[in-house]
């Protein structure tokens, strides 16, 4: 496989990952799935950065995108942690596991670990 082909393969995978995460964020109701969707979206964006680093490098990979991905991972982790804490507190307070007001909290939903 040539250089360009492998870049295209990675870039396409990255965009598909991003789209998968987006669809999960928009279509799933459960909060955990939404948060995981956001995570997959950021993984897609990071993969694109890394594949650019690989393509740009002649002897070694381009360091700038890697630095960006490290920063991005830190941001993504803190946002995920925060979202999870919020979701947990919402469930504790209302028993809801989605953002839908109309949904009545069902008992088995509430007791699930």
């Amino acid at each position: 496989m040539t250089e360009l082909d492998s870049f295209l393969l990675y870039a396409l995978t990255a965009v598909i990952l991003f789209a998968l995460g987006l669809s999960s964020l928009l279509s799933r109701r459960h909060l955990l799935r939404k948060i995981m969707g956001l995570n997959i979206m950021s993984a897609g964006a990071f993969l694109l950065f890394i594949s650019v680093a690989h393509r740009n490098g002649k002897v070694f990979a381009d360091p700038v995108p890697q630095a960006m991905v490290i920063t991005g991972i830190v941001v993504s982790i803190s946002a995920t942690g925060f979202a999870l804490a919020l979701a947990r507190r919402i469930r504790k307070k209302t028993g809801l596991t989605s953002l839908d007001y109309r949904e009545e909290p069902s008992p088995e939903n509430h007791n699930r670990p």
Binding site: V52, P65, G72
Partner: protein
């Protein structure tokens, strides 16, 4: 100075975190005052060549992070510091008052100073990845602030806000990745020179603009805004509506006019304008229908944001030369005046409404009747802020709408006129809806909780600032032109200082 406007709020946030709980209010206020003072020194004390430029740690681009200020940055910095300082003065007694004691979280000051530092840093940063990180910082701090009121409704609104904000910044990040893949640079100036009309570039443009539209809550992407702004504590609502929304609008201006001036088209600008027009009508229409005070004000934000987006169609120049330049400047002045005066007026409105809710203990619109003239200053503040939002002279809102109308007429895009006029009429509708209830006979005698004078005065001062902006327009124009220095105006727009 450039570094101090970022370092002071950030270190203030850390100090507040370490302080004993009682001291945090004072420490926070001191940090707020120091930040505000530094911004003023930066803006008004003439300095040497390096005043508006700083490479962090001596590392310049492309590897290091550079801070750079231009006319637009200065306008946004000043807007932020004045509004933020008055909100800080309000926040101290607000979180100390007995009724808020239960929900008052002492983390307010830490989060608020982090948010403020993020805003300042965003306005002076010059590369798009740095901007992404700062936008995330701003969003996280803003969402955390909305959760201070630990009610289920506020938590749900906060999580929805977080999801929308994350979606916006991730879409923006993907756009950044596309741009880096195409050009290998991240700084605004470098990108602006290199950008060409290729497929990845257009994709990046679309992604970045879309991401920022979600964060700015332009109709129909405003779904998260009313709940988040309406359920937060009063100072937080003011911060969110007045300042946080403006940060992503600032990003849009940078993206639109600085990175992609060569590929923006007439159609794209008209689309943004049309979304803005729908926002104006839909937001005001919804505001008139609300029964809760804070939701009314939050929907009013949705509609006022719409006016900001009329800037985009009005600055697409079809006629070049003298005439094009003059209407371009009118549109810019109108858009920026609207940004500044909306920030002050909306903050004042949220704070005044906060006072009334504090006094009455409820935020139902109909219970405004029971005030019976006992909160004259807060009601007057609502009136003045309302004058501003409606755009009556001599307020900043009047100048903004007047300039926008002028730009509409001289650019021949007559179809925006009915929108601007109808929007003002609907705004008058919901402002008088609030004021009308105040002057109606009361239903029952209610014991009002006393409102500390600092709360009323800071809200009133903000409303006065909004009026005062009407008289400082020439200063705003000077600042805008100082940024327009490097290039002839209508063809390409660059704000870099020489």
């Amino acid at each position: 100075m450039m570094v101090l406007i970022v370092i002071i709020p950030f270190s203030g946030a850390l100090i507040c975190l370490l302080m004993p709980k009682r001291m945090r209010g004072y420490a926070g206020l001191a940090a707020a005052a120091a930040t505000c003072l530094t911004v003023f020194l930066l803006a008004f004390i003439p300095g040497g060549e390096d005043t508006f430029h700083h490479a962090l740690g001596g590392w310049g681009r492309p590897l290091g992070i550079e801070l750079q200020a231009d006319g637009l940055s200065i306008i946004f910095l000043l807007l932020t510091s004045v509004t933020a300082f008055l909100i800080s003065i309000y926040a101290g007694p607000y979180f100390d008052s007995p009724r808020e004691q239960k929900t008052a979280d002492y983390h307010f000051w830490t989060l608020w100073l982090l948010l403020w530092g993020g805003l300042n840093a965003l306005y002076v940063s010059s590369d798009i990845f740095n901007m992404y990180v700062l936008l995330e910082l701003i969003s996280l701090a803003a969402v955390a602030l909305t959760t201070l009121k630990e009610e289920a409704e506020a938590l749900i609104a906060a999580l929805r806000y977080l999801m929308a904000a994350m979606l916006g910044s991730l879409v923006f990040l993907l756009g950044v990745a596309f741009l880096y893949a195409e050009y290998g640079v991240l700084d605004l100036g470098g990108l602006g020179v290199q950008v060409q009309t290729t497929l990845p570039t257009i994709t990046a443009f679309g992604l970045m603009v879309f991401g920022m539209l979600i964060k700015t809550a332009l109709f129909p992407l405003h779904f998260w805004l009313p709940a988040a702004h309406g359920n937060a504590p009063a100072p937080v609502s003011a911060i969110l509506s007045a300042l946080v929304i403006k940060s992503s609008y600032f990003m849009l201006l940078r993206i639109w006019f600085e990175i992609f001036p060569s590929i923006t088209t007439y159609a794209a600008a008209q689309l943004l304008g049309a979304m803005g027009a729908f926002a104006i009508l839909w937001g005001s229409f919804q505001a008139v229908r609300q029964e809760r005070l804070k939701l009314l004000v939050a929907h009013s934000t949705v509609s006022q944001i719409g006016y900001l987006f009329l800037l985009f169609p009005l600055t697409i120049a079809q006629i070049t030369g003298e005439q094009g330049a003059s209407w371009n400047m009118q549109a810019w002045t109108g858009g920026i005046c609207q940004t500044v005066s909306h920030a002050a007026a909306k903050a004042a409105l949220f704070l005044a409404v906060g006072n009334i809710i504090h006094a009455l203990g409820t935020d139902r619109l109909i219970s405004l009747r029971d005030i019976k003239g006992r909160l004259p200053l807060s009601v007057f503040t609502i009136g003045i802020a309302g004058v501003n939002l409606m755009g009556l002279p001599p307020s900043g809102g009047f100048v903004a709408k007047w300039m926008l109308l002028n730009a509409v007429i001289s650019s021949g895009q007559w179809w925006w006129i009915p929108i601007i006029v109808l929007g003002s009429l609907l705004t008058a509708g919901y402002v008088f809806l609030m004021l009308g209830h105040v002057f109606a006979p009361s239903r029952k005698a209610v014991v009002l909780q006393s409102v500390p004078p600092a709360l009323e005065i800071s809200a009133f001062a903000l409303a006065l600032c909004a009026i005062f902006i009407g008289f400082t327009t020439s200063g705003i124009i000077d600042l805008l032109q100082m940024g327009f220095h490097t290039m002839p105006m209508p063809e390409a727009i660059t704000w870099r200082l020489p």
